[in-house]
């Protein structure tokens, strides 16, 4: 039996190129993984994690469960293409086995089975397989149809904006769009000439027989298969260089992620898996307030990852991000978008500078002591109401407090980290750590979520418990050390600060505190979906007017709840939202201090 004919060449070449490039890339990335990452892989390989990873591959890479959650139509589109194609391959393989038994058949023999079946005069047809294969083809074609539609009108599929693509993507995309229609045509022509095929291809074959003579069909028979093979070949060649790299890359990524590998403050080899696992689906575009509110269209994570992958990332793109985490939260591939952006910034800007901040050496004139250290944070110094409220709360609870930065302190280092200057940030971290150690505090309370995040993640002060003031206040209330009065007709709405909510996972504590003093009304976007106030220190690109525009929108949504007071738990959010709000904007501590019994 022959399983080769000339039109297979594009397919064979394409497949060879694709698998070679994939192999080179993956081997290189894996080889460059740091030792620590390899140890993690070794540790977790023979564990339940491999099984759960496998399940995630099925549910995400094939079924696209997470996209379904975002939008069922979009989920169906992705699933039809991924899962449909997978099934076509799997069932196609089973089909060859069914026809030919367990024997070795070259790859093209499986792919172009319908052609070779005719060529090798396998005349017995299996209607079940014919039906299933046609059904699957229809399934995939429906996805392709939806993809076409999405290009024209993305809103139909629930997306306000869809991704703008680069050349490789366009080539691969065009080829992909042709693959299945061409397969449909080639198999239909085959069915018309040689019979067989399920309801779809034989149906189409019958139509073809009616409208065209046998002669004509014979003439287009070979070209149709050629085109199908060409489309496949082109797609395969373009694939490792285009967004479709994600099809395969997502699989090792899922495993590595299950083995606890994560991107870090500095770029490393693992990042390649995350960067190239991005399918550029564009789901990250819609939640981005820079897009929805300011109409900035070229900075979103999809473009950031694309630019980074092709080594064309510019600072103005890397810097223009609020790092609110709304996109990371929704990303169907689960890419650590914030961390990747941070380590890109770091690669661009982190200049180790020995002498920098040497002035921190002899400035410590701090005094006082206490079990609890209170670090207001730079921004909190501009919201003195928060500080005096905290003072009252500490007093009411009889807490023994040491004020770390009442007369001005050293920045926590997070803003520098966010701008990518990790080495410099470390100097601040070292200074503050030494300060905390010197005063022998047992726990550290801060009013600033920006500080909180860096204290928790970078400070490594394991013997000091780091608390946000919302957590601390809630604890005081629960322990009965702080008695607050509940006012029924006091209505509050709560704005989740990005660094507190998505950043540190603190959603419930502030709400519990608010409920202890009054009624809480939730805005339309809340919790994990909460908006960013717009003034994020992570963004150094947008203007004041743009910040204000975001703040006005956020404030309007909060005011729509009808609450009398807008509560937040971050000095920066408070400052930002106050600018856009008509109603009173306060820090969580303020409403607590006012309700102390």
């Amino acid at each position: 039996m022959t399983f080769f004919t000339k039109f297979c060449i594009p397919f064979i070449v394409g497949a060879t190129v694709m698998f070679t490039v994939l192999a080179i890339k993956y081997i290189a990335w894996l080889r460059n993984l740091p030792k620590s990452d390899w140890r993690l892989i070794a540790k977790n390989f023979f564990s339940l994690r491999t099984v759960t990873a496998l399940w995630e591959v099925v549910s995400e890479s094939l079924l696209h469960r997470r996209i379904f959650k975002v939008n069922p139509a979009l989920g169906y589109m992705h699933m039809s293409l991924a899962f449909g194609w997978f099934l076509l391959i799997a069932v196609g393989w089973a089909e060859t086995v069914a026809y030919l038994g367990m024997r070795w058949v070259p790859l093209q023999g499986h792919v172009f089975f319908k052609y070779f079946a005719a060529l090798n005069n396998i005349s017995a047809h299996n209607p079940t397989f014919d039906f299933v294969m046609d059904l699957l083809l229809l399934f995939v074609l429906s996805g392709v149809g939806m993809a076409w539609l999405k290009r024209v009108r993305s809103r139909i599929l629930g997306m306000r904006k869809t991704t703008k693509h680069v050349a490789f993507d366009r080539i691969a995309l065009s080829a992909l769009w042709f693959v299945f229609p061409m397969r449909f045509i080639a198999e239909s022509v085959t069915a018309a000439l040689y019979g067989g095929g399920g309801f779809l291809t034989s149906g189409m074959g019958a139509i073809l027989n009616k409208i065209a003579s046998n002669d004509v069909l014979h003439h287009i028979y070979e070209p149709a298969w050629w085109l199908y093979s060409l489309a496949l070949g082109v797609f395969f060649v373009a694939m490792p260089f285009s967004r479709y790299m994600h099809i395969f890359t997502e699989i090792p990524l899922i495993f590595l992620r299950h083995y606890q590998l994560r991107p870090e403050a500095m770029e490393k080899s693992y990042d390649n898996f995350e960067v190239e696992a991005c399918s550029r689906c564009g789901i990250c575009i819609d939640p981005c307030q820079l897009q929805s509110q300011l109409g900035i269209n070229d900075v979103q994570s999809v473009y950031f990852l694309r630019d980074r992958r092709y080594n064309m990332l510019q600072q103005k793109i890397a810097n223009n991000c609020l790092m609110c985490g709304r996109c990371e939260q929704i990303c169907p591939v689960g890419i650590n978008l914030n961390t990747l952006r941070l380590n890109s910034r770091s690669s661009m800007r982190n200049i180790p500078h020995e002498g920098r901040y040497n002035y921190l050496r002899d400035i410590d004139k701090s005094s006082g002591e206490g079990k609890v250290g209170y670090f207001a944070g730079c921004m909190t110094l501009l919201t003195p109401n928060t500080m005096s409220s905290m003072h009252n709360i500490f007093q009411a609870a009889g807490e023994d407090v040491w004020w770390a930065d009442r007369d001005g302190g050293v920045c926590c280092g997070r803003p520098l980290m966010l701008s990518g200057e990790m080495d410099s940030a470390q100097k601040m971290i070292d200074y503050n750590k030494a300060l905390f150690t010197k005063h022998q505090i047992k726990s550290l309370v801060t009013s600033c979520p920006i500080c909180l995040k860096v204290f928790r993640e970078q400070y490594n002060i394991n013997d000091i418990e780091v608390l946000h003031h919302s957590e601390y206040i809630l604890r005081l209330i629960q322990q009965g050390r702080l008695k607050v009065g509940h006012t029924k007709d006091a209505t509050f709405t709560y704005h989740d600060p990005c660094e507190l909510g998505r950043g540190c996972g603190i959603y419930d504590e502030p709400r519990a505190v608010i409920k202890a003093v009054g009624e809480l009304l939730e805005p339309a976007h809340t919790g994990k979906n909460a908006f960013c106030c717009g003034s994020s220190v992570a963004n150094t690109a947008i203007s004041d007017a743009q910040q204000l525009s975001i703040a006005v929108k956020v404030a309007a949504e909060l005011e729509d709840t009808g609450a009398q007071t807008i509560v937040t738990a971050c000095p920066l959010c408070k400052k930002a939202i106050s600018r856009g709000a008509q109603r009173k904007v306060v820090d969580l501590s303020e409403i607590v201090a006012q309700s102390i019994k």
Binding site: I351, C411, G413, P415
Partner: protein, 109 residues
């Protein structure tokens, strides 16, 4: 050369004819809002680093605009990027962006 026990001081004058204004123009070109500074000094007054050192953001960026680059990079390096200045600037200048831009133009990244 004879050492007389005193020296000829470098002129403190900002000489706009001698200063090379190319980088200054590039900086203003990228962020024209810097020109909106009215010298109120809020940034320096609230500055976390300025509380600890002689760092004066307003003065340094003004000098940079006049083509006086010497020492500006090192001065800007004192900034902790905490962002208080941006919150208090009455002209809404993106001060943190300015710090980063000046460092980018005068430094090596």
């Amino acid at each position: 050369m004879i050492n007389f026990g005193f020296s000829i001081n470098r002129a403190r004058t900002i000489d706009l004819d001698r200063n090379n204004l190319r980088k200054s123009n590039e900086i203003i070109g990228e962020m024209p809002e810097l020109q909106a500074c009215i010298g109120c000094g809020s940034c320096t007054a609230s500055c976390t680093a300025g509380n600890l050192t002689e760092f004066n953001f307003r003065k340094v960026h003004t000098l940079v605009r006049r083509g006086e680059y010497q020492g500006a990079y090192e001065e800007m390096n004192k900034c902790m990027l905490c962002g208080k200045c941006r919150l208090v600037c009455p002209r809404g200048i993106n001060t943190r962006g300015i710090v980063m831009l000046i460092k980018r133009k005068l430094g090596d990244f």
